[in-house]
């Protein structure tokens, strides 16, 4: 006898991932995204400060990646991000995909430290992403 009850198979891994992220000291990260700017010459040449918005993702977990030390090199980190929180922000911003959201992200801030996105990967189950993994590098200090 087969179980033919309707159910959303995709939501299970997402809920499980969220629960796991929360239980391993899940925190929040904010993405600094660029606002939609008028296509002006000055904004393309770094003459006009672009407007920024901060988008909070939670739960996330940050872990340092083991690396060989390089003089002057910046540490690399992996940020595990809940896919449900990413989807919520994609809907709120009316974007087409998570790639669009990460493409417009200038920096990721976790605990007051800025990081730059080096690469993006995702984990899927039943055809749905349940976790995004961002490879981050510590950003250089910018002038005030």
């Amino acid at each position: 006898m087969s179980d033919s009850a309707p159910r959303n198979m995709g939501a299970g891994p997402q809920l499980l991932a969220d629960a796991l992220l929360r239980t391993v000291a899940g925190t929040s990260a904010s993405l600094r995204v660029t606002g939609t700017t008028a296509d002006t010459n000055q904004s393309e040449m770094g003459l006009v400060a672009t407007t920024f918005a901060s988008i909070v993702l939670s739960p996330v977990v940050m872990r340092k990646l083991r690396q060989t030390f390089v003089k002057g090199g910046r540490a690399n980190w992996e940020l595990l991000v809940s896919a449900t929180s990413v989807q919520k922000q994609i809907n709120a911003l009316d974007l087409g995909s998570a790639q669009s959201l990460f493409a417009m992200t200038l920096a990721v801030t976790v605990a007051g430290q800025d990081y730059l996105i080096e690469s993006i990967a995702s984990n899927e189950a039943f055809g749905q992403v349940y976790l995004y993994r961002l490879l981050l590098r510590e950003a250089e200090q910018q002038a005030i």
Binding site: N41, Q42, S43, E44, L47, L116, S119
Partner: protein, 161 residues
């Protein structure tokens, strides 16, 4: 020097918009001609495909004749994976098309120097001019073909610059 860099970029941007209006890029929420200044955008982990990326490298001065001539080396990088409809098998042709576009962008090899820090931009007295481009061999990175082109860009410093 900054005025020359801005004028060079704007000249190429304007020429690209007229040579191939279809070559556009969505960046920071705006659709614009597919040419950008690397130093004025967020850091890229991977340069975007089908876009001309301008990178400023060397710098030199020559003050022999009373006038100071600035010489700046500009590298223009571009790469392509071809088009989806061809499954990327047209990437060689796509790169050739970009080569041809770039040659057209660089002709004529001079443009008026403008000050873009004010709106509307004001014309200065001299011109920005540049050498013949030096094309590097094609680089192959898996399914991505790319090339870089180096150009020396010159301008005379004017009073107040």
């Amino acid at each position: 020097m900054q005025n020359a860099k801005d004028s060079f970029y704007m000249a190429l941007r304007t020429r690209l918009a007229s040579i191939n209006p279809e070559r556009t890029v969505l960046l920071r929420g705006a659709v614009r001609p597919a040419i950008l200044l690397e130093e004025a955008e967020a850091p890229f982990s991977q340069l975007p495909s089908d876009v001309f990326v301008l990178r400023w490298l060397g710098l030199g001065f020559d003050a022999e004749s009373g006038l100071t001539l600035d010489a700046m080396e500009c590298e223009i990088l571009y790469q392509t994976c071809g088009t989806q409809s061809f499954g990327g098998l047209d990437r060689g042709r796509a790169l050739s098309a970009m080569d041809k576009e770039l040659v057209a962008l660089l002709e004529p090899c001079n443009t008026p120097k403008l000050n873009y820090t004010v709106q509307p931009p004001t014309a200065l007295l001299s011109q920005v001019f540049w050498d013949e481009p030096a094309f590097s061999p094609t680089t192959v990175q898996r399914d991505r073909l790319g090339r870089s082109v180096k150009i020396m860009v010159y301008s005379y410093q004017e009073q107040g610059e």
